[in-house]
Amino acid sequence: MEPEWIDALLSGEWPEERCRAIEASLEKDDEARSELIRQASIDAALKELWRDESGHQTSEAFAKGVMARLESVGGRAVARSVLSEIIEEREWRAKTHLWWGWRRRAEVRRRDREDRQRFQSDWWKAAAVAALLVGIGIVVLQSVSLTQGSRITVAPGLEGVYLARVTSHQDAAWAASSLHQIREDGWVKEGRLDLLAGHAEVAFNNGAKVLLEGPVVFSVETDARGFLERGRIAAEAGGKASGFVVNTPRLTAVDVGTRFGITVGGTGESEVHVLQGAVEVSRVSGNSVPLLVREGGAVRADDRPLSQLAQVEFRGEDYALPAAPASDLHLPFIRYQFEGTGGILKQNGMGLSGSAYEASLLSDAEFPGKPKRSPGIFGNALVFRDTEGLSLGSVGRFEENSGFTASFWAKLPPNEDSLVEGGNLLTLVDPENHPLWQASWNGDGELGAIGALRVSGQGGGACTATTDLRDGRWHHLAVRYVGGDGGFGMLTHLYVDGKIERISALRSGSLRISGERGDSRLVLGALPSHSVRGFTGQVDEVYFFQGAASPALIQKHAAEGALNVLSDQE
């Protein structure tokens, strides 16, 4: 190998293609590789020794970074862990840190330009998707049929999982590549959204909302993290969504409960403007010390990998806030509060069933054991033993592949030896009392985390959350099925106390619905006729929505105990 090649590799002066060719030679040449390593250590040491004079980040700037970290107690651990997570999941680091990183960035920009030119010719497809998105939110219930599922997968990846939803838009024109990312009803999988023009609001599953202002390229990475590649966004992520992360080529912004705007320019330079609350901002490379930027503050990371964050003039007026929270209380729903006295329970709600249904707490042939009333999270609740069950009213018919949301409170006794087998909390049954899907706490380690919320369909689809519920405390639980093709487990989101849960085990299986069987019903606890074991504990404030409720609505239920909504029986 020519000595010149090694210097070119270290200096990063040659094009990436040529550097790659040298790399390939090195793989086969032990002697050259050994020499490269020797050269690299001297090269790096000389750069560090003389960096103060070379115009790169100086020791003074480095010292300021260290001091900033020492002065900001608390936030550092969050930012570092987020940074590590991002680095492990995405290979952007390789693009910015290798010696020829600038070449890779140029390649990324060139690819983007090509994409954009190609997408512009497909504007009419984008318009068609925009039109389809108008119809979000209207779903009708039918009965259900199920097919066989596939094997359990522990700790699944994100592929196939819907992480967010486009909840509203205005004059939105999406690039052709984004058509594959957005389902007709707005659900978004992991991937890149290229909005050529107009505005669109994306609601993440953790409750954060991001307003995209076209032209913008924004990737949904997890249910609580996005990557702004280019353009401008405004984000709102308070309450349970705190900790929402927006990453850019140059910085990481971790929400601490606030609203903020971010702009990324053509070479990755990034600005964060905090409109309300505070945001922890750190660079993704070099001295990644987080700075806590408060309301009215703004910082900028330029396109040099090792330079510091710089304060800039606040321009909050440039960032349109996300639109008012989209109300999904129009979704048909049914509600059980378990209030009143005597042996009768009344349901109310809106748009489902049409008439009130009264469930008796007195024993009958179907359920010899019925629950009792007890003080609950909000007024009265029902207290169950594992042999007891209660049939509630009709929730109507499902449309095939339509979504639903069950949102309720439950309390399980503290983790004891006797509480090891799992138990059924809530079941949807068809008119013949065949269970269609059920929510339970998991007692089998092979099916995911013990004690965690688990939802399973008779066709084999299932997913298990991670939080052990057996602690003697009230927990708000929500099961949201987004509907559509792709498997019941994959299309289901589980929330505990308003926060979306990590899935400890997943089995994909479809939940198809046949409209021939008539109305379905909810059953709490045991299903005596099918020998399904119930649970020991309490249930309160059960809501069933005919459609996928927003994280905001689920979090409102978790925060307030009950939802202050109108019903058509009141």
Binding site: A44, W50, S54, W99
Partner: protein, 188 residues
């Protein structure tokens, strides 16, 4: 007043709760500590992060520093341990195997750490640079102090870019041999 005495005073002030005194310590030792890390783990972003973590660790354990000992050596020992931890962490990530060059450098670093933290590699490097002929020192200055490209250097010296790159290669090779001669062979 020598550095050692000043370091002692600064450490005393840090222990008394004066955070600004620690900034002076960072300013004084950052460059050499970073160079020390660079010689063991020449991956730019890891140098930055490990140097940063070393100073933070030092601040949080400042009471453990033995009065009268060499602060620079203590910092190097901290950095050495962090480098070792980083090498272990790095090697556990299969994803990192895909970055070939970086992987080579880290892997080498893992093998070479037996040299320990006490070898004053940076001081040896500076000595060896001083022993270079003036023309070679000037070339290093252009590349590393003035951050000139090979093309700029070639134009200034009336040489080809290939000559610049090859000469820099040879100078670095000579520096490495000089260090090894002074310190004893280093594992590669």
């Amino acid at each position: 007043m020598g550095d050692e005495v000043s370091d002692k005073d600064l450490i005393g002030r840090v222990r008394d709760g004066h955070l600004d005194a620690f900034e002076e310590i960072v300013l004084r030792h950052a460059s050499r500590l970073r160079a020390f890390i660079a010689m063991r783990l020449p991956v730019p972003h890891l140098i930055e992060e490990i140097a940063h973590e070393s100073f933070v660790w030092a601040y949080r354990h400042i009471d453990e520093f033995e009065d009268g000992s060499d602060l620079g050596r203590w910092l190097r020992a901290i950095a050495y341990n962090l480098v070792r931890a980083e090498v272990l962490r790095y090697s556990r990530s299969e994803r990192n195997q895909e970055k070939y060059l970086e992987h080579c450098l880290v892997e080498h670093s893992g093998r070479g750490l037996a040299a320990g933290a006490d070898t004053p590699m940076v001081a040896l490097l500076e000595e060896c640079v001083e022993r270079l002929p003036e023309a070679q020192r000037a070339l290093l200055k252009r590349r590393y102090r003035l951050a000139e490209s090979s093309e700029e250097i070639a134009k200034a010296l009336g040489r080809s870019e290939a000559w610049v790159r090859t000469t820099l290669f040879r100078i670095r090779h000579a520096l490495r041999e000089c260090i090894e001669h002074k310190a004893g062979p280093q594992p590669v």
